[in-house]
């Protein structure tokens, strides 16, 4: 197994030199193996989103190095890194273009990382293929290929964004609380789908969640962040044996205080 993602000495401080200065990431070191499915937890403001955003190139880091598939992408802008990455965001509005049709959104995603040419934006063959894929989601989207994405429900949009993220197989899939804005039933459905896609393509994945049950159930490795650091990193057999109580203890030992976070779901 080779290292798919290597992060060395990554640091990020927002609003440096102002009264609002906030250290979001402090010296992060992380190696993600090819095929790892990592679940990430941590309290509000722990730095989970910032870490994912630094990997995706949304913010330039203050220090450190990021390598994807051995390529140093630290100085690459967001759009260039997209060639490696599939991403789904917390906000269902963020991953799709509301004014465009489902088909057009999928066609944009299928060409991720490619030069946009003057060829037709959606070819005839794509239509049938998309219909099949949407059919497998079982959300009734296959009959709405030419309908505007803005008319879909949050859950439908997240499922579509997920499909868009894996349509062109990414080296690394980044999921930032992608089910947090959905009602529990829909969230489970989208999560199911996520797991299915990840297993089917053996996708290397980093998934942030506030749901401890999900974090424990899914994936082969679990990271816990606290105040800009990775404080817990368990994998394989150790992770499989992990219980919610163990997680709480690990958190207390790492942070020196009780877990008092409403958003960390223990259910």
């Amino acid at each position: 197994m080779c290292d798919l993602l290597q992060i060395k000495g990554l640091a990020k401080t927002f609003n440096r030199g102002t009264p609002n200065e906030k250290s979001a990431l402090a010296n992060i070191n992380l190696v993600v193996d090819d095929g790892d499915f990592i679940t990430m937890i941590g309290g509000n403001g722990a730095g989970k989103s910032t870490l994912l955003n630094c990997v995706a190139g949304v913010y330039p880091p203050d220090a450190g190095e990021i390598r994807i598939d051995e390529v140093n992408v630290t100085r690459w802008s967001e759009y260039r890194r997209a060639v490696y990455l599939g991403r789904v965001f917390q906000d269902p509005m963020m991953g799709t273009a509301a004014d465009m049709t489902i088909k057009e959104n999928l066609a944009l995603a299928r060409r991720r990382g490619q030069r946009r040419t003057l060829r037709w934006g959606v070819t005839a063959g794509e239509h049938e293929k998309y219909r099949e894929m949407l059919g497998e989601l079982e959300l009734g989207l296959e009959s709405r290929l030419t309908g505007k994405v803005g008319l879909l429900s949050g859950g439908q949009r997240q499922a579509l964004t997920l499909l868009m993220a894996i349509l062109k197989t990414p080296k690394l899939l980044l999921l930032d609380e992608h089910t947090a804005a959905l009602d529990p039933k829909t969230a489970d459905k989208v999560l199911d789908l996520t797991n299915r896609f990840i297993q089917a393509d053996k996708l290397t994945t980093m998934m942030v969640t506030h749901n401890m049950r999900h974090a424990l159930q899914l994936g082969n490795r679990l990271l816990m962040m606290h105040e800009g650091r990775i404080v817990v990193d368990v994998r394989g057999e150790d992770k499989r044996r992990l219980k919610v109580d163990d997680l709480l203890q690990l958190f207390e030992r790492a942070s020196g205080r009780q877990l008092d976070n409403d958003r960390m779901l223990l259910s």
Partner: protein, 298 residues
Amino acid sequence: MGQILTAAVALGLLWSIMVIGVYITYRVLDIADLTVEGSITLGAAICTSMIRAGWSPVVGTALAFGAGMLAGLATGALHTKLKIPALLSGILTMIALWSVNLRVMGSANVSILRMPTLFTFIQRFGVSRYFSWIILGGLLALALVTALYWFFGTELGSAIRATGSNPNMVRAQGVHTDNMVIIGLMISNGLVALSGALIGQSQSFADIQMGMGSIVIGLASLIVGEVLFGKRGFYMRLLSVALGAIIYRIIIALVMELGMNPNDLKLFTALTVAAALSVPYLSAAVRVKRKPAGAARV
């Protein structure tokens, strides 16, 4: 009355190309671009000055289009590379173009009376003045609508449309959104300058002030077109905003005929736009009151 209507339709067709340009920025890119106030004059200034200097009107018109694209490039660079807000970027280019246009024309206006224009080519076949505008303006508008429909259906065009809808998503799909905005602004201002070149030739005259208020005329036409002819399909949308330009001219001709003081025209247009801009909001508010939308669940 027939003559007045013909003139209004003819002028509307020449302006329709400008309105299509405004549509690209205002609706597709979701940017209110004030560059157009300068680029419409730029087009007229370049085209009339070239004709005056003995160049063919075809060359003058083509160069006007190219110059308009450069104006769009300037605004796009200010906005995307230097991170100046879009509205302000447009204003900066517009102000800069005032000086550029004076340089191009050498004075505050240029007359090309009795010199060849694209329209005199057509008039040679025995066509009247207004009908020459209608023929050329109509053909060009139709050709441009078709070309733009094709372009915005390509991979590149889709990426530009998506950038106007959700730049975050487009970046995540590996598209350099800055470039998409710049290309859109270039096409838009190229069209506006082309329209300016046609207007300049139609009146055999270019004037440093002719762009003043043109963004408002453009928006008025755009909204009139959308309200009257609906928004179904991209081709129909482009056609309807072009038609809006004609309707707008007819409305103006009618109110003038009814005895409105020409000095009040700008006030009238501004009020029309304010009213039209509020139509979508007001009608949505009415709809919401009538039936609360039920959110679909997965």
